[in-house]
Every structure is written in structure tokens, then in C-alpha cells.
């Protein structure tokens, strides 16, 4: 037994080290791809900004100053060297440090995705469990239909419907921004996550305002992700309820409610950890569209803006941040899985 534990411990460590080591080539390939794709696309940030009103000679002069006329390989070397030093640079079109975009807009995205994930888990788990438990009843049909429809609907479409229903027709909730203009102007920012900032300052009026602004975007993004959870949890519940240990529990005379709640549901939820990790990338992708729909000042909102302006530095920086976050979450999920399930090893 002791020997077995030692072997497991060693292989777990190897597994963790291997996973971390794989991150390096993964990020390197991504950096290179983003760099090349941005250069392959026609146009450059200087022409996009000035092409409508200054002579070509001035544009050339500015391109030279920005180093955009250097050979591609030199630009690539400069870019990698900057990243290695942790310097993501300053945006070309509006001189904004990337660190500011990451902390300011990244915080807004974090706030949105966190609450969206809460919505996804709450809706996904409840509807999935109920549908699985009451298989082939009207509740199950409703749950399955709901899961398929919200997963199939584009996130911006759900967003528009929510805006029209709760913002325009019923007038219950605001349809845009992270907070109302006055709240935004007066709220002291400490973390850039307005929900936390409002609590930090004990500004309950701002907290109420921020919460109201969060509801529609978080519900929209959360519901799309919930569609995946519903289907997965339902299947797991159905499978778990057929397992031998459930039969055994029933045979021992344990009340059905306890069998379902204490044994079947808990075990059915274990695979969800993996799916949460996998869906994080989906959530970030959805956040770009949700942010556009709700004028939410997140990092995806900025990405769309800078892509249009061909701002190499900004786009490269934002995509690297996205990638690093996804890699970090995947890594965390892998670690959790490896701890939970000893069968997972390289």
C-alpha cells in the first residue's frame, strides 16, 4: 500500500511537471501565429489611423518611427523579447499601456464571466439534475428542449431578446454598461471589478446599481453555457442512477430521496469540473459578443476595436492574455482531475 502511494505520488508530480512544460511551446506557437496572422492581413495601424487625411510621406515617416518598416523577422524578435521581459508594450493607435487594458478591461471581463459562470452552474445543475432524475417526464422534455434551444441560439440574439424584454418593454433593468454613468463617474476604483469596488467602499447604492447592470449580460452569457451543462448533467444523472452502488443503496432500504440526493447527484457532478474548464474558453469567446451587445467594457470589447484598427500590439497582447487565462484554467482543471482521479497520468 505504501509502495503504491509512492508510485502514485511520483507519477502525479511527473504529470504536473509535464503539463506545465507543455504550456511553454503551446504559448510560443500561439504568439507566433498571432504575430504572423496580423501581418498577413492587409493594412497597418498607421494607415488605418491616418490614411484619410495626411500625405503618404507623413505615413511613411511615422511607420519608420514605429519600426513597422523593419524586416518581419526583426519585428518578431523585438516582439518576443518584449514578451519575455513581461513588457506587452503600448497600443499603437491610442498609446495605452497593455497592462492598463489587462487590469481595467480584463477586470470587467472577469466580473462578467464570473457571474455568468455562476448563472451557468446554477441553471445547468438544477435543470440537468431535475431532467435526469425525472427522465421521460414533461420536466425532462422541457429541460432538454431548454438546454438545446439556449445552446443553439447565438449569444447576441439572446442578448437582444433580453434587452428588448427586460429593458425596453418591461423597463426593469438597464441594457448597457457596467454601471450607470453617474455611478461610474463617482465610484472609486480599487480593483476595477465594480462589484467588489462598491462593497470595498461600502457604497450600497453603487452596489445596487452595479448588480442591476450585471443581471442581463451575466444571464445571457451564463444561459448559453448552461445549455452544455444541462445536457451533460442529465446524462450523468441517468447513468449514475443505473449504477450498482445505487441499486445496492436501494436494496439496503435507504430512502429514495437520500439515494438520489446524497449518492447519485454528488457523483454525477464530478465530470462537470472538467467541463467547466473546457467551457471557460467558450465563455471567453461568448464574452466578446456579449460585451459588444451590452456595451460592456471588457477585454473582448477592446479586442474588436483594436482588430478594426489593425493595432498589432493591442491585438497580440489581448490574445496572449486570453490564451494564458485559458491555459491556466485548463491546467488547474487538469490538476484537480489528477488529484480527484488517480487514473489520470501521462
Amino acid at each position: 500500500m505504501i509502495r503504491s502511494r509512492l508510485v502514485t505520488g511520483t507519477s502525479l508530480r511527473t504529470y504536473l511537471i509535464t503539463r506545465i512544460a507543455l504550456v511553454v511551446p503551446m504559448v510560443f506557437i500561439l504568439l507566433t501565429l498571432v504575430f504572423l496572422l496580423m501581418r498577413v492581413a492587409p493594412g497597418n495601424p498607421i494607415e488605418a489611423a491616418l490614411g484619410g487625411h495626411v500625405p503618404p510621406s507623413v505615413i511613411k515617416q511615422i511607420e519608420h518611427r514605429q519600426g513597422l518598416d523593419k524586416p518581419l523577422i526583426v519585428q518578431y524578435g523585438d516582439y518576443l523579447w518584449g514578451i519575455l521581459r513581461g513588457n506587452f508594450g503600448t497600443t499603437i493607435t491610442d498609446n495605452r499601456p497593455l497592462s492598463q487594458i489587462i487590469t481595467q478591461n480584463g477586470a470587467a471581463t472577469l466580473e462578467l464571466t464570473f457571474f455568468a459562470m455562476l448563472v451557468a452552474i446554477a441553471v445547468g445543475v438544477v435543470v440537468g439534475l431535475v431532467a435526469g432524475r425525472f427522465r421521460d417526464t414533461s420536466l425532462d422534455v422541457f429541460g432538454r428542449l431548454f438546454g438545446i434551444v439556449i445552446y443553439a441560439m447565438p449569444v447576441f440574439f439572446i442578448g437582444l431578446l433580453a434587452q428588448l424584454t427586460f429593458g425596453v418593454w418591461l423597463g426593469w433593468l438597464p441594457i448597457s454598461d457596467q454601471a450607470s454613468p453617474l455611478t461610474q463617474a463617482l465610484l472609486q476604483t480599487h480593483t476595477n471589478v465594480y462589484f467588489i469596488d462598491a462593497i470595498w467602499d461600502r457604497n450600497w447604492a453603487a452596489l445596487w446599481d452595479v448588480t442591476r447592470h450585471l443581471i442581463l449580460p451575466a444571464m445571457t452569457l451564463g444561459l448559453v453555457t448552461a445549455g452544455v451543462f444541462i445536457r451533460l448533467i442529465r446524462i450523468n444523472v441517468i447513468r449514475t442512477l443505473r449504477d450498482d452502488y445505487i441499486e445496492a443503496a436501494r436494496a439496503r432500504g435507504i430512502v429514495e430521496r437520500r439515494v438520489v440526493y446524497n449518492h447519485a447527484f454528488k457523483n454525477a457532478l464530478v465530470p462537470v469540473i472538467t467541463v467547466i474548464g473546457l467551457n471557460f474558453a467558450l465563455l471567453l469567446g461568448g464574452a466578446v459578443l456579449t460585451e459588444e451587445t451590452f456595451n460592456w467594457p471588457g477585454i473582448g470589447h477592446e479586442l474588436v476595436l483594436y482588430l478594426g484598427n489593425r493595432d498589432y500590439t493591442a491585438v497580440q497582447g489581448i490574445i496572449v492574455v486570453f490564451a494564458l487565462v485559458v491555459v491556466a484554467v485548463s491546467l488547474l482543471v487538469d490538476f484537480l482531475n489528477a488529484f480527484v482521479d488517480p487514473r489520470i497520468r501521462y
Binding site: 488605418a48 507623413v58 441594457i175 448597457s176 461610474q184 463617474a185 459588444e292
Partner: protein, 521 residues
């Protein structure tokens, strides 16, 4: 039983907490008298740089205008007038301009403004040569000298009759020499150092989200009619429209689609204000490459341009047909294209031009436009032009489009005929003529006309009615030689809630949003 009672108690407490929070929210943000006077404006624009030394786009200018001032400006209406100067005089050759400054002007931090600040501001723009290119407006400025604390002398390399107009642009905005670095651009978020002499001070800047302007307590002029301004930035005009209709913002300016404007006009509690503006759209030809090097082909298109259909069907009459690159309302404007090609499409004359062109009919041509930079309506606009040209059976038009980043790098280098828009550096006819007709212009269309070059030189070195005469001649020559075909001039449109007043007082040919004239009841 006890368990159930506990649950009810819990639910009741939750409702009570929510109600108290809602009440607190209402009193904290709705009750303050000072906050009620703050005007919240929505826009779909993007701020690039607030520092005047590197600001060369309209959206950033709208933020600069309430914070900074130049020696000249447009304080009310479209008439150029001294602002920080009491007046400027020039030598006979228009190469030396001496300006006398207003006394008692203070920056928003309380520093007094003197000629040293003015010299510092101009030297700074020329030293930094910012990436946005605003320094190109000071190309003719050789040096700036001072003569005492209230006199500044500008020495130019060439005669420049429009120098006072240059002084009204942000290349000439005066900044505090004690707060702005001499050799680098100030970050937009550095509100502590972003100090000007205008009616407002910048107190908060959140990129892509919000600009907060508070009244400048040291302001030398009339106090703003509101308690401050918040500019809220939107990525989509549809969301901005809904927010205006719901009353989440007080007004919105820049930029709604024509259908959104029509919808807002029908909304209870919202008023749409408009006045003739100076924003224009035009078609550019590369005059050196086939097929548009054939002047008769260009003439046939000029005869067929469906201005009325574009203004009515596409823009719902929020723009007006334009018959010169110089918009109507600016001194020096003439309807040169109307004189030569008529007010409405003329098929018979177009046929005659095509006969003279000696090309097969229908003649295949390609027109380029950019689908989002000038708004989604661009596609409809070019479909209308295509429809009109094809209906004549003289042309077979292919439409092509490219996003702005690609489009702006191609223009005349790649495209034969392409859409462009223009918003002026300064609202004067000079900016609508010299920019387009000088050799090696920004759009690379190959246009170079000796007669035009002479007219430009004469216009730049004369003043008054003589200068206007040259401007008229330039427009007539352009209509004849057709490097471009102007087709519409946009109105300046702003929409506000019915409790917002003063918006019409800022709508004029300058296209300036003077927030200090707007109040809220």
C-alpha cells in the same frame, strides 16, 4: 412548523434588505441637486489622444474642445473670432503674424496664461511630431517668438492667409507649460496634468467608457450652463438609441443611422435637432489610370450622379445634395458642379459624354467603398449609385468593398474610383480645396494641374474678397477637370431628452459640440 416560520422570516428579511438598498440607491444617485445638473451625453466615437499635440480626429477633438482653447476659435456660430487672443495682425506678405493675448486668463489649476505658454505649446507640437499627424498643420511655421508676456509672433516659411484658422485647431491649443512635458504625449488618464484654459477641466478618463468634465472654477469666460458633462461611449448606436429612449442618457451626438433618427423623431420625450453641417462624401477618381483617365467617362458619371435619391432614399433627408467640395454655408462656396452638370441626373448629356469617350456600352467599371468606417449606410449609398449608372445602360458597375484598415492603405494606389468622406481640420473653404487639389494629395489619385497649383498659391497669399475669388475659380476648375465628384453634405444632428435645452445653439457649420451651452432642467 418552526422550520417553516424560519423560512418565511428569512424571505421577509431578504425582501426588506432589497427594498432598503433600492431606496438608498435612489437617494444617493437621484437626489443630489448638483448631480441633477450634470448632462450625460452618449456617442459612438472613440477617443485616441486628448493631449492636443497628438489629437487629429473628431471624437478626440470633441473632448478637447471644452478643455483647451486656441488664440482663435468659433465661440459661437461659424464665424472665426479671437478667443485667447484679442487679435492678430500680419505683414503684407502674410509670412509674419503678431498676436496679442487676452489678459487675466487662467488655466484650470489657477496658473496664469502668458505668451510663454503659447510658445511652449507650438514648440511642443513641432518637437513631438505625434503619430496622429496634427503637426502637419504647422508645416509652414518656422518659429514662434514672444515679445513680452502678452505678445506672440509666428514666423512662417510661406504666405498663409488661413493662419488664424490654423490657430483655431488643436495644433494651436494652449497648454500649461508647468504640467505638460515638452517632449512626450501626456497619457489620457493623467487628468492632473491635462490642464487647459477652457470652461471645463478633465476629471476622469476611462478608455472606451467615459469622460468626466467638471466646470473650471478659474474660467475667464461665462460659466457653463450645466453642472458638468459625462460623455458615455457606446460600441453600437442601437444600444445608445435605446438608452436615450429609456432616459439613461440625456442626449446623444454622433452617430445614429438614418432609420434610428427617424425612430427617435417619433419617440415621446426625445427631440431631434439638426442644422447644416460640414461633413461631406465624395467619389474620387484616379485620373492617371484607365478607365478613369478618360475625362469623358468621368463627365458621364458626373451627369448621372443620383444625389437626390441618395439624400432621400438612403439618408432619409438627413443629408443634402452637394455640388462642390466646399459645403454650402462656408464662405467661398459655389455650386460649381450644378452649373456644369445640372442639379439632377441628365441622361442625354451623359450619353453625349460617353459618345465622346469612344468606349463600348455598357462600359464596365468598378467602384470601391468601405462598409463600416463611414457607417453601415455606405453600402446602400453605393447600391444607389450602381442602380443609377446601370439604369442609364451606359455603364455596367461592379461594386467592391474593403474594411478601412485595408481600404485606407490602398485608395488611389490601387483603386480607380472610390468613396471617401471628409471632416475639416478647420471650417474654411481652403481646407476643402487645397487638401484635395494640391499635387501628391493624401488619396494618391494622381491629380496635378498647373493652373490649379497657381490658384492655390494665389489663394494662400491673398485675403478678403480676392481670396474668395480664387476659391471660386478653384471649384470651377475642379468641376471641369473632375478629380472628384462630391455628392452630399451631412447635417449636424443631436438628439436630447425634452428636459435638455441649448442643443440648437451649438449646431452650426463648425460641427462643434459646445457642451457649455447645454443645460438640463
Amino acid at each position: 412548523m418552526a422550520k417553516r416560520r424560519f423560512r418565511w422570516l428569512l424571505a421577509g428579511s431578504a425582501v426588506a434588505v432589497l427594498a432598503v438598498t433600492a431606496a438608498l440607491a435612489a437617494t444617493a444617485y437621484g437626489g443630489s441637486k448638483a448631480n441633477n445638473k450634470i448632462v450625460v451625453d452618449g456617442t459612438t466615437g472613440t477617443v485616441v489622444n486628448i493631449d492636443p499635440a497628438n489629437e487629429y480626429d473628431y471624437d478626440s477633438f470633441t473632448v478637447d474642445l471644452p478643455i483647451f482653447q486656441g488664440l482663435y476659435g468659433f465661440p459661437s456660430g461659424a464665424k472665426l473670432a479671437p478667443v485667447l487672443a484679442t487679435g492678430c495682425s500680419h505683414t503684407k506678405n502674410l509670412k509674419t503674424w503678431t498676436c496679442h493675448l487676452r489678459h487675466g486668463v487662467k488655466f484650470s489649476n489657477g496658473d496664469s496664461m502668458t505668451s510663454a505658454d503659447v510658445k511652449y505649446s507650438f514648440d511642443r507640437v513641432q518637437a513631438i511630431k505625434g503619430d496622429q499627424g496634427i503637426w502637419t498643420l504647422l508645416t509652414y511655421l518656422k518659429s514662434t517668438t514672444v515679445s513680452g508676456p502678452y505678445t506672440v509672433v509666428f514666423h512662417l516659411t510661406a504666405p498663409d492667409s488661413v493662419w488664424p484658422y490654423i490657430l483655431s485647431t488643436n495644433a494651436g491649443f494652449v497648454v500649461d507649460k508647468n504640467t505638460f512635458p515638452a517632449d512626450k504625449i501626456l497619457a489620457n488618464t493623467d487628468t492632473a496634468h491635462m490642464i487647459g484654459t477652457g470652461p471645463y477641466a478633465l476629471t476622469k478618463f476611462t478608455a472606451g467608457q467615459q469622460v468626466v468634465l467638471t466646470p473650471n472654477t478659474h474660467y475667464w469666460g461665462a460659466k457653463p450652463k450645466n453642472g458638468g458633462v459625462i460623455i458615455d461611449y457606446y460600441s453600437k448606436s442601437s444600444t445608445m438609441k435605446l438608452d436615450l429612449q429609456q432616459g439613461h442618457i440625456d442626449m446623444a451626438f454622433q452617430t445614429f443611422t438614418p432609420t434610428e433618427i427617424s425612430s427617435l423623431k417619433k419617440t415621446k420625450g426625445v427631440k431631434v435637432h439638426s442644422a447644416p453641417g460640414v461633413n461631406i462624401r465624395y467619389l474620387v477618381f484616379n485620373v492617371t489610370r484607365p478607365p478613369f483617365n478618360n475625362i469623358n467617362v468621368r463627365r458621364a458619371i458626373a451627369y448621372l450622379m443620383p444625389r437626390q435619391a441618395i439624400a432621400g432614399r438612403v439618408w432619409h433627408h438627413t443629408v443634402k445634395p452637394l455640388y462642390s467640395m466646399v459645403p454650402a454655408g462656408l464662405p467661398g462656396h459655389t455650386n460649381a458642379y450644378k452649373t456644369l452638370y445640372g442639379a439632377k441626373p441628365n441622361l442625354a448629356k451623359a450619353k453625349a459624354a460617353m459618345k465622346a469617350a469612344k468606349v463600348k456600352k455598357p462600359f464596365p467599371i468598378t467602384l470601391w467603398y468601405t462598409p463600416s468606417h463611414y457607417g453601415d449606410v455606405s453600402a446602400d449609398e453605393y447600391i444607389e449609385i450602381q442602380r443609377a449608372l446601370n439604369a442609364s445602360k451606359l455603364f455596367k458597375v461592379t461594386l467592391k468593398s474593403a474594411e478601412w484598415a485595408q481600404y485606407s492603405s490602398a485608395l488611389g494606389k490601387v483603386y480607380g474610383a472610390f468613396q471617401l468622406g471628409w471632416f475639416p481640420d478647420y471650417p474654411d473653404a481652403d481646407d476643402y480645396t487645397v487638401s484635395f487639389y494640391q499635387p501628391k494629395s493624401f488619396y494618391n489619385n494622381g491629380y496635378a494641374n498647373g493652373k490649379m497649383n497657381k490658384l492655390i498659391a494665389k489663394e494662400r497669399s491673398s485675403t478678403g474678397t480676392k481670396r474668395i475669388k480664387y476659391l471660386h475659380a478653384m471649384q470651377a476648375l475642379a468641376a471641369k477637370t473632375l478629380p472628384t465628384i462630391p455628392y452630399w453634405q451631412g447635417d449636424m444632428i443631436a438628439a436630447g431628452r425634452s428636459n435638455v435645452s441649448g442643443i440648437p445653439s451649438t449646431l452650426d457649420a463648425t460641427y462643434y459640440m459646445r457642451f457649455w451651452l447645454i443645460s438640463k432642467s
